[in-house]
Amino acid sequence: MPYIADCRITTHQEVAPEHYRLVVHAPQLAKEAQPGQFCMLQVREGHYPFLRRPMSIERIFADGVSFLYKVVGEGTRMLSGMSQGQMLNVQGPLGKPFPRESGFDRYIITAGGIGIAPFPALADALKRELGKAPEVIIAARTERFLLCEKDFRQMGCKVHFATDDGSAGEKAFASEVLKRLSPAAGTVVYACGPMPMMKATHAVCAAAGAVCYASLEAEMACGDGVCLGCVVEANVEVETERMVRVCKDGPVFDTQLIQWESY
């Protein structure tokens, strides 16, 4: 069950230009959180910004969780100004986690840019619970935004890189790298990144008969299923509801459920 608490920031560091890792002390949250879930962070007191900011849970520790985020606007800019020792108001854990089912031959993670954020926790859980260290495709604009490589390697994951400018790994999209890894029936792919990247990943998986779970993004007001602002259109042939809430029905969806034509 989600809850709201002021949590002490225990670590806050820049891991790449404009990219930060923030760790909070939150034992109860850590106990309940599952990979793929997110929190709503109140970046400041007062009325500006008005809404909380959704952030994926990056790692789950014994006494807290971490977030990995990119500064894209004023809210994340304010967040980056908070320092170790300060209190951050956190609401969570929210949303549905990544399904972690045994019985697949291959587990592949595909991340575009800051879409890497929910995956260290997932890889860790897959390794511990199923004994499967997933293969990981990390894609970014350029080399210095390829994040979390060390974490994945420590877990025994095979890591593939893709960059837009060819500065590291293949000069290709994540979905192209995925295709060359030949996913098939019996493969499960976990994806997070920009909408076009997830759409392409879905297409590769659908063609190969692989299962694909994607963590989607949408602007959110409540983060907990109340406002109905965060919906995406569902594929009505699969889902009975025409609109599904990213915050409550997701953020992780079987990609067959989503109507990708709109993206």
């Binding site: 008005f50 809404l51 602007e219 007001a221 907990d224 406002c227 109905l228 919906v231």
Partner: protein
């Protein structure tokens, strides 16, 4: 000192003057995770229509300075699913319920009110005559919203009053020159109260893509950004009405709520601020009690319309 917070809103007894704004609290269950929602004076549910509605296509939400724009388009489960799946939870908790309804014609509102009364689905009716996010409501010209035309407000109010014995509140739009006209029309047609205000029309454009931010182009502005506008409308209406007012628009704290009560509201609703702080309405209740104690007011009703000019 014991303080009386109970108010009577046109026949609806509320144990305190605080409810939540329709559409900002769903059907209660989600926020019951964060606090006991039975402590509210009333739970106002998301607008209900006869058929379920999928609402507008996304994106339908964007943050704005001290507020937000939404173009949800009244997505809701419909009256049948409400009565079957949502109502039992609220009744078991012992909540007082304001059933907010939306229809395409007076007959639909009447039908919804009748069903809510017959199946014990609400303790009062709030008729949403003012959602800016549906079909032809994009422009103020021509009175696309029922609440923009006083004679239509009267017609709809009469139809609903004829269908139910429950107290009927009429929810009006601020997208109008003079709020007093539709408010008086509602009163004369028999409304037991008015709810002020629904959202203000607004929009946003992404200058990079040159496209509207909301798929619907236009949406409704809510949050603290609209509070002074809402307060002024409540004050204007209160000067002319005999029936009570439920005031809303950007209320975040007990101090905000007090402004509406002093301007003439008998009850208040916390809206968008619950998205940020799910137990905001509870904090308002606690703050109102503390305010009364601090000012040695034994009965909050003494403060309704008590602004000192």
């Amino acid at each position: 000192m014991g303080v009386n917070l109970q108010v009577n809103v046109g026949g609806l007894i509320m144990k305190n003057p605080v409810t939540v704004a329709s559409g900002t609290f769903a059907y209660g269950q989600e926020y019951d995770q964060y606090f006991d929602i039975a402590q509210l004076g009333a739970v106002t549910v998301k607008s209900l229509s006869i058929q379920p509605r999928a609402g507008n296509r996304p994106p339908r939400l964007v943050e704005t300075p001290a507020g937000m724009l939404n173009a949800i388009g009244l997505q809701n489960v419909g009256i049948d699913a409400y009565l079957r799946d949502k109502l039992p939870y609220l009744r078991e908790k012992g909540c007082t319920i304001i059933g907010n309804i939306y229809g395409h014609a007076p007959e639909e509102y009447a039908e919804l009110a009748r069903r809510l009364e017959a199946e014990n689905g609400a303790d009062a009716i709030e008729a949403n005559l003012s959602c800016p996010n549906v079909h032809d409501a994009r422009t103020v010209r021509g009175g696309a919203l029922v609440a923009q035309a006083p004679e239509r407000v009267a017609e709809y109010t009469r139809a609903i009053k004829a269908a139910t014995k429950l107290p009927v509140f009429v929810k009006l739009t601020p997208n109008i020159i003079d709020i007093v006209e539709p408010a008086l029309a509602a009163q004369e047609a028999g409304a037991d109260g008015v709810a002020l205000i629904n959202t203000l029309l607004g929009m946003g454009i992404n200058p990079e893509t040159r496209r509207p931010i909301l798929r619907n182009i236009v949406g409704g502005l809510s949050g603290p950004a609209i509070r002074p506008v809402a307060l002024k409308m409540v004050w204007d209406a209160a000067k002319h009405l005999r029936i009570p007012i439920i005031g809303m628009g950007g209320i975040c704290s007990a101090a905000d709520a007090m402004q509406f009560i002093l301007a003439g509201a008998t009850a208040v609703a916390v809206g968008s601020y619950s998205f940020r702080q799910p137990d905001a309405a509870l904090r308002v209740i606690q703050g109102l009690e503390a305010y009364c104690q601090r000012h040695q007011v034994e009965d909050i009703r003494q403060l309704i319309g008590a602004m000192e000019a």
